[in-house]
Assembly symmetry: C2
Homo-oligomer: 342 residues x 2
Amino acid sequence: MADVARLAGVAISTVSRALANPGRVNEKTRAKIDAAAKQLGYTPNALARGLRVGKSNIIMIVLPGSLYYGASQVIPQVLQSINKSLIQDGYNLMIANLGRDEISERHILDLAFGGTVRGAIILSSKLPEVDGRSLATAGLPIVSMLLDMSDAGLPSVVTNDREAVRDVTADLIRLGHRRFFYLAGPEGNYHDVERYGGVVEALEAAGLSEAAVVRSGGKLDYQHGFDIGLEAAEDFAALTEKPTAVIATSDDMAISFMSQIQQTGLKIPDDLSIVSFDGSPVCAFCSPPLSTIEQPVEDMGQAAVALLLAAIGQAAKQSAVCKVIRSRLILRESMAVPKNGA
Amino acid sequence: MADVARLAGVAISTVSRALANPGRVNEKTRAKIDAAAKQLGYTPNALARGLRVGKSNIIMIVLPGSLYYGASQVIPQVLQSINKSLIQDGYNLMIANLGRDEISERHILDLAFGGTVRGAIILSSKLPEVDGRSLATAGLPIVSMLLDMSDAGLPSVVTNDREAVRDVTADLIRLGHRRFFYLAGPEGNYHDVERYGGVVEALEAAGLSEAAVVRSGGKLDYQHGFDIGLEAAEDFAALTEKPTAVIATSDDMAISFMSQIQQTGLKIPDDLSIVSFDGSPVCAFCSPPLSTIEQPVEDMGQAAVALLLAAIGQAAKQSAVCKVIRSRLILRESMAVPKNGA
DNA sequence: CGATTTTTGGCAAACGTTTGCTATAAGGCA
DNA sequence: TGCCTTATAGCAAACGTTTGCCAAAAATCG
């Protein structure tokens, strides 16, 4: 920086002000300084700035291992949209994987308490906590994505899962379906609770009882979506009275389930309608094309960043809001009026 | 840190030595210091350390936008395996998207020249370069992944694409196929050159001419894989003399192509065999299940990290090696002896 | 017990910025 | 010219570490 100052013929403090602050310096000298910096190929040292200012420009995204697999593309899309939004405000994105091991937790806490990161976006239900240090008490702005954790004081961005699944169940009822098969994610999981709740609400609204839906799965995590579908196909085969509509909580489940069930001779959608979650592009090319509820992850990413930057902006912690992004049903041929049987 | 020193009853310099360096302090006092640090919930400030030591512990991964889409899961798997490997050595992973815009390039250069990152793993064919600053001259250890850039002096990790596609083409020839349809990625792209080259090599080895293969695509980037497959289906329909085997350079292409082509009444694999690239899990559940050449991205990630850490370790730049990870053909029903026609 | 080695204390400089301060310089206005 | 406003210079402290140095203390050894 001293070199730049010398070349531009100004003081070192002026260079600093020109480069960091916006309006504190005359436009003419700023131009001179910029030119000098460019000529020298000078780039301010981010570590030094961060140290001096007491805050970094790095945001960390906490990803549970379970999100990594499957055709749904949520991870890449989330990362891309979040990174894009962050960059516009001069922030960088750092990845932090959260596993079941204490090491990954400790690692995340080190990042938080060590001043490396300025804020966090978490896609996990659990906040790392070990040895008395907890991410919740790190004094770090945090927003939760995918899961509503506004009760715990974290601003959150979620989709209207419950409503979406309620609507699509109502659609199925309207088509004439009366018996349902529900492919569950991990038991007790936020998404599973919401989605199953939506099914039940729709049933009740139509005067049907919860007995109209058979649950399958619930043991495996979403990352084993394909396996869940396969097991569900076995469960389905064992049923004496077959449901006519399937509601799957991920595209992976739906795809493997459908593939398996078709080999037993069942026709989709004539014998069985299927709808699932996530909006994976590949669903369009299944046979038959699969109806799916799109997760607007890009919008969610943007919203999460907006919330986080707002939280960074204001010192005092506001009350936690929960922003709901509407998901969208992509209707394809896998959903139809039940033709055979019943 | 001063607090920790006081509580442990030692000097501040001893605390520093105990926490940062390994062997410079007695085991007993180190334990005392660790206990004090834990009790106080102390975490060393990474920015300050980085500033003082002159190097950060952050590695940046440069991702081109084109990699983000599709069912192939390369991005998540690469990120996960790289991050996992890095953490074991105390490094963190930062994401840097490389678009076609100058802004993203400038951003990456700022990270490199501003001392934020210690090294980079790039999955892009182009090194950011603007205003005389270039990533190549940032004095940063860099390794290239997916693309062989050892000619340009970058240690690289790639798969044996050419060989893999040569082998599978030879398999197809052995099954009796004589006319081929090749779904290309972007023209001139490293992968496309390698893979197409493999096809031609296999043809020549079997005494067939390059005329035995019809190319389709080449205009769109891999991120539009599904579209490429759809267009290819049109191209295929227009052919008077139909090939009996398809070699697709991504699973996305193969999936949409197969879906489309089946609607014209063609049977797979009886009328047409298909094999593709990437090893997406979803291929197992296509109808028929799709043969695909698995990209061992996790191994590649590990290897890339190993290479990078080695480069960081030794000050002087060694000659650039190119590490080849073997890919694996997952054989499924989409490849068979041509039954009809011919 | 004295000699030697290992460990620690204490000090201070350094890393590259930012920022508050005062003082000087430049420019505009009456 | 004198006064006021605005812009910059120059200085110095601060951010939280690491690290070289030397001296002091402790441990080890013969």
